[in-house]
Amino acid sequence: MSIKVSQPNGWTRRSVLKTGLGTAAMAGAPMFFVRNAHAFTNDPSNGSSVILGFNVPQTGAYADEGADELRAYQLAVKHLNGEGDGGMMNTMKPSSLKGNGILGKKVEYVTGDTQTKSDAARASAKRMIEKDGAIMITGGSSSGVAVAVQSLCQEAGVVFMAGLTHSNDTTGKDKRKYGFRHFFNAYMSGAALGPVLEKEFGNDRQAYHLTADYTWGWTQEESIKNTTEGLGWKTNAAVRTPLGAGDFSQYITPVLNSGADVLILNHYGKDMINSLTQSVQFGLRDKQVNDKDFKIVVPLFSRLMAQGAGENIKGIFGTTNWNWSLTDEGSQAFVKSFGAEYGFPPSQAAHTCYVQTLLYANAIEVAGTFNPCGVIEALEGFKFDGMGNGATEYRAEDHQCFKDVLVVRGNENPSSQFDLLEVVQQVPRSQVEYDAAIFGGELGACA
């Protein structure tokens, strides 16, 4: 005998469950969110100004780079608004910039601190988009942050002009339709550095990697490994170190007894300053291993880091995107106008951020609209010159810029406190180019 328990209003437990599941399934059915084809995020057409979001690290391991990036952005805004001497706006070819803002609207900006953390960077970018009405986000001095913010910008429908990010992933497996990178990447560093390393150090070497443990470090380690192993070098070990570790002595001690004769530091910013200084203090550079002089290589170099590391960088090889000592017209115009504003030459981070801002503004002028889809179209495949790196192209397939890469060496006899890097070779674009398909990833669509 069974008793059927029923609620006063006729609902049984089973029927409640059934209805609930049914409703859930119905509500969970495909819902297509169609965005209005004409509207886009933060359309500035009705306002008198256009707002750009500068999202840079102001605290953390990359704070020095961030501060310099911000200076460059402020300079770019000045130039776009027709103040100052115009800098690279005068040397950029082809250029549609008029020096009256963007499409006649005054350029304004908001800033945020990424803290070199993905979470903080995304929160800060979201604030700029949701509250301040920024139409473009740019900056970042860490590839982890750049990748995180880039995918956020894709979701929000806002163009992201990457600042200093060197990981292959940014325009490789994590590339996005809304993201663009002017800076070079780890693959190019490897390709450019290879022949120079072969010439200087020979084919019989054993390398030991210390690698910053995140996307940039991983891809740089991989790219450099591929290059050096191609030369016939052996890779002794590759040790990952946390970002912003501060003290690297525990990682350097094992190098001494590993039998390796080259130390490759896949570090950047303050990390690189610390690890290099400590390596030198541990006497690595004075050592003889396998009857050869012990060598240190820092694949990604910058003048700011050289400044921080002082004496220790002398004679050390690396690559850089740009250096202020270049003598072309564009570089000189930029160095002059940056120097007049701040009293010292710009870093490569400043250079890439400045160029990115100008390129974005120019793309809007070319497209004649603020609509990101139009801007993206104008940027894809855009060929330009006079921005300090010679003839450059924004490849349409992965939104990566292709240009010459500089192989540099720490200057043995600096003529000034800023003359720290000596350009060993300007590696032509053709030598560092690669097929866009090798890193996978897909751009997605412009919504």
């Binding site: 059915a29 908001v110 945020g112």
Partner: protein, 377 residues
């Protein structure tokens, strides 16, 4: 039902809280905080702090590693997104439960000690988890880069129900995308439920026992009362709150990074609770509002924004004001927060809530002749 019965005062408190939270997009407008991302943060960290307060406020056990549960909640949620479904309901449930499970383990070990030793133990666990997530467990957590939801993840349940994902995947509540304002309202509703549960705990015999442990645990033990299960429960509940908050973080922004587990994140929730008022119902929420407001709004003031702000002054005075104020805003927002924290701890040990009650008392005593001051609440 009996469980929903509240005293008159509590009903008012509950209603007032719910209304204040749901209307945040309106009343926060004048101070520039009413945009979805920050509102979501308010709700999420409010929940985190309210949960933390159940442990710290009631039992007096200062956990310095609560961020670990935040991180576990986030990671679990993102993994649920990746493997099962972009629907947020299973994600939040799994995130909360797994955080609870970890809380049982960490709590069981840490609660063998009290005072500073307990704090250090929890801190050690948190740092351990942080470093694990950062390096050793990279295959699960994706290290410093952070765990993200990708388009080609399996998502078994979504596949089963034929849910099609357009564009980049975002969390949804049966079809409503959990970003922007819908995301905030989802968090707000969870927060209100969380607040209600916390209110019930504060008013329950269980809460009373916890307060008794806080005032004198030895005496409790002498009476033959085994305190440990109660402490463990309090620890687990507050761990689950933290896990839920972590889940919500991943719900509104499908990304989980190890830095959520860092000791700074654990310290932040302690600050929130102390700033607002330890052991008070509403205090932690106030603290969370204040700190998140500082972090997001104050840090964004740059020099040009300051010049705009003081542009009504003559230019010499304007420049002077900008020079004076500048170190306290922008990247110097920590300085302002630190100063404020010191002021509050020194002059208002009971936090903002004590400040408000003192104000009310003064007003009362102005009208009525002053009676004996009531016991501090």
């Amino acid at each position: 039902m009996k469980i929903f019965k509240l005293s008159r005062n509590d009903t008012i408190l509950m209603l007032g809280f719910a209304i204040a939270i749901l209307l945040m997009p309106i009343w926060l407008q004048p101070i520039g905080a009413a945009y979805p991302d920050l509102l979501q943060k308010f709700a999420i960290f409010g929940l985190f702090a309210i949960g933390f307060n159940i442990l710290f406020g009631l039992t007096g056990y200062l956990s310095f590693g609560h961020a670990v549960f935040l991180g576990i909640g986030s990671y679990t949620t993102v993994w649920t997104f990746k493997l099962l479904s972009m629907n947020v309901v299973p994600a939040v449930i799994f995130g909360t439960l797994l955080a609870g499970l970890f809380a049982v383990v960490i709590g069981y070990v840490s609660l063998r000690r009290t005072g500073i030793y307990f704090s250090i133990l929890t801190l050690a666990f948190a740092q351990m988890s942080y470093n694990l997530a950062y390096s050793v467990l990279t295959p699960i957590t994706n290290g410093e880069t952070g765990l993200r939801v990708l388009r080609d993840d399996p998502r078994v349940l979504d596949g089963l129900f034929g849910v099609v994902q357009e564009g980049s995947p975002v969390g949804n509540f049966f079809g409503i995308n959990m970003q922007g304002y819908p995301g905030f309202y989802f968090c707000a509703v969870v927060l209100i439920i969380g607040f209600f549960i916390s209110l019930r705990i504060f008013r329950s015999p269980f809460g009373l026992k916890l307060t008794a442990i806080k005032s004198n645990q030895n005496r409790m033990r002498y009476t033959g009362f085994n305190t440990r299960p109660y402490l463990l429960w309090a620890f687990v509940i507050s761990g689950m709150y933290a896990g839920m908050a972590g889940s919500l973080m991943a719900v509104t922004d499908p990304l989980a990074g190890a830095e959520r587990m860092q000791w700074t994140a654990s310290g932040e929730v302690v600050l929130m609770t102390i700033l607002g008022g330890v052991g008070t119902l509403i205090g932690p929420m106030l603290g969370a509002l204040l700190i998140k407001y500082f972090e997001n709004i104050f840090s964004a003031f740059n020099e040009s924004a300051l010049h705009d702000m003081f542009s009504f002054l003559p230019s010499l005075l304007e420049n002077l004001m900008v020079t004076v104020v500048h170190p306290f805003v922008g990247d110097g927002w920590h300085l302002t927060l630190g100063t404020l924290f010191m002021v509050i701890v020194i002059f208002l040990p009971g936090g903002l809530v004590e400040g408000v009650t003192r104000l009310f008392k003064r007003r009362k005593s102005d009208g009525v002749s002053a009676k004996n001051p009531g016991p501090e609440s």
